[in-house]
């Protein structure tokens, strides 16, 4: 059974958001990394890039597949997790911690509120 922290918001497409003021950290869920299997490469967006919610902005490749990652919120990328370039396996070992993808300055603070809470996301992934 997947770990689903209660303090995060979730997208149906399996990204999570941790909000702190007008900034948010984005990554993919434990369920997503489990489905992907061993992650071997992560391509992250450029810092300063402006993204809209639902826009493909990163790529994660596992030993079995390559998948687009969709930004669950709109805003400007302010920081990316450089550690993933040397150690993409962090996405598997710590998806909600050291395996984060990027930090974004939110352009619409209401967007995370409209995302799924942990309980609703849990129901989605458990079918």
């Amino acid at each position: 059974m997947s770990n689903i922290p209660s303090d995060l918001r979730y997208a149906k497409s399996h990204e999570w958001v941790r909000v702190a003021g007008d900034h948010a950290t984005v990554g993919i869920t434990d369920h997503a990394q489990h489905e992907l299997t061993d992650v071997v490469f992560v391509e992250l967006p450029q810092v300063h890039r402006i993204v809209k919610a639902g826009e493909a902005c990163a790529v994660v490749e596992s030993v079995k597949t390559a998948s687009d990652i969709y930004s669950p919120v709109s805003g400007q990328i302010v920081e990316i997790n450089a550690a993933l370039s040397n150690n993409p396996g962090l996405v598997n070992t710590d998806p909600f911690g050291d395996g984060w993808f990027y930090k974004i300055k939110l352009s619409d603070a209401a967007e995370p509120e409209a995302m799924l809470a942990a309980e609703a996301y849990g129901k989605q992934v458990q079918g």
Partner: protein, 233 residues
């Protein structure tokens, strides 16, 4: 283990079969339906696994059929050529055909997930296994069908093999005369003769495999022991 690309063949504009020759004196026991893991010598930490599209009777080389997907898929499809060196981890996996006389293998595939079933059918045909194999294959359009001519030829050689295609994204007015739409429980049911003797296989994108598993296990009430899955073949 470093091996050499013996030949390449474009199956579709975005899909290529890579034939990789074993080194001299390399002997390995493996099974039809398994996958190998590939890496380029200059980036050995970056690995991708691909189902074998050849079968266990094809000795001396492995064949994988790769779609342009991610960095590995792009490099293979756009750049791999005969003579290239590539690192190969030995075959692994448990997506194995049950070649028993009474069994019917009902193989459901999406996109490049059809590749291991080419291995299933090759082995069954070469060894004249008395096992019925039905392939139900979901693609977007007819131009996305991998191994179309080869499966049609294998159907002629082996009367126990049948190959059926459904297209999910045809524009209105398209000339395709075959089935349209997604894989449904009804379509699967049409091909079942004796449910208790049918072994279900599903291979392809996670979404297709998950939905097929739900159709088979929940709608058709098939016991889990009769279903094998491989996500992203």
């Amino acid at each position: 283990m470093e091996m050499t690309v013996e030949s390449v063949k474009m199956e579709l504009p975005d899909t290529k079969t890579l034939r990789v020759t074993w080194p001299p004196d390399y002997e390995i026991e493996f099974k039809t339906g398994q996958f190998i893991t590939l890496a380029w010598p200059d980036t050995q930490n970056y690995k991708r696994a691909y189902s074998l599209s050849s079968c266990a009777l094809d000795r001396g080389a492995f064949e994988v059929t790769v779609k342009r997907d991610g960095k590995m898929g792009t490099r293979i499809v756009d750049w791999a050529k005969a003579g290239d060196k590539i690192m190969v981890l030995p075959p692994a996996g448990r997506f194995l055909p049950v070649f028993e006389e009474t069994k019917h293998l009902l193989c459901i595939a999406g996109g490049s997930g059809v590749t291991p079933f080419r291995g299933f059918v090759r082995e069954a045909t070469l060894l004249k296994h008395p096992t019925r194999i039905t392939i139900l294959y979901s693609v977007r359009t007819p131009s996305d069908i991998i191994f179309h001519d080869e499966f049609r030829q294998l159907e002629k050689e082996n009367p126990l093999v049948s190959f059926h295609v459904t297209c999910t994204r045809l524009p209105e007015g398209h000339e395709w005369a075959g089935r349209r739409g997604r894989i449904t429980a009804e379509w699967i049911r049409e091909h079942i003769q004796d449910l208790s003797q049918t072994v279900f296989y599903a291979c392809g994108p996670n979404e297709l495999v998950n939905s097929t598993e739900a159709l088979v296990l929940e709608e058709l009430k098939v016991p889990k022991e009769q279903m094998r899955t491989e996500k992203w073949g």
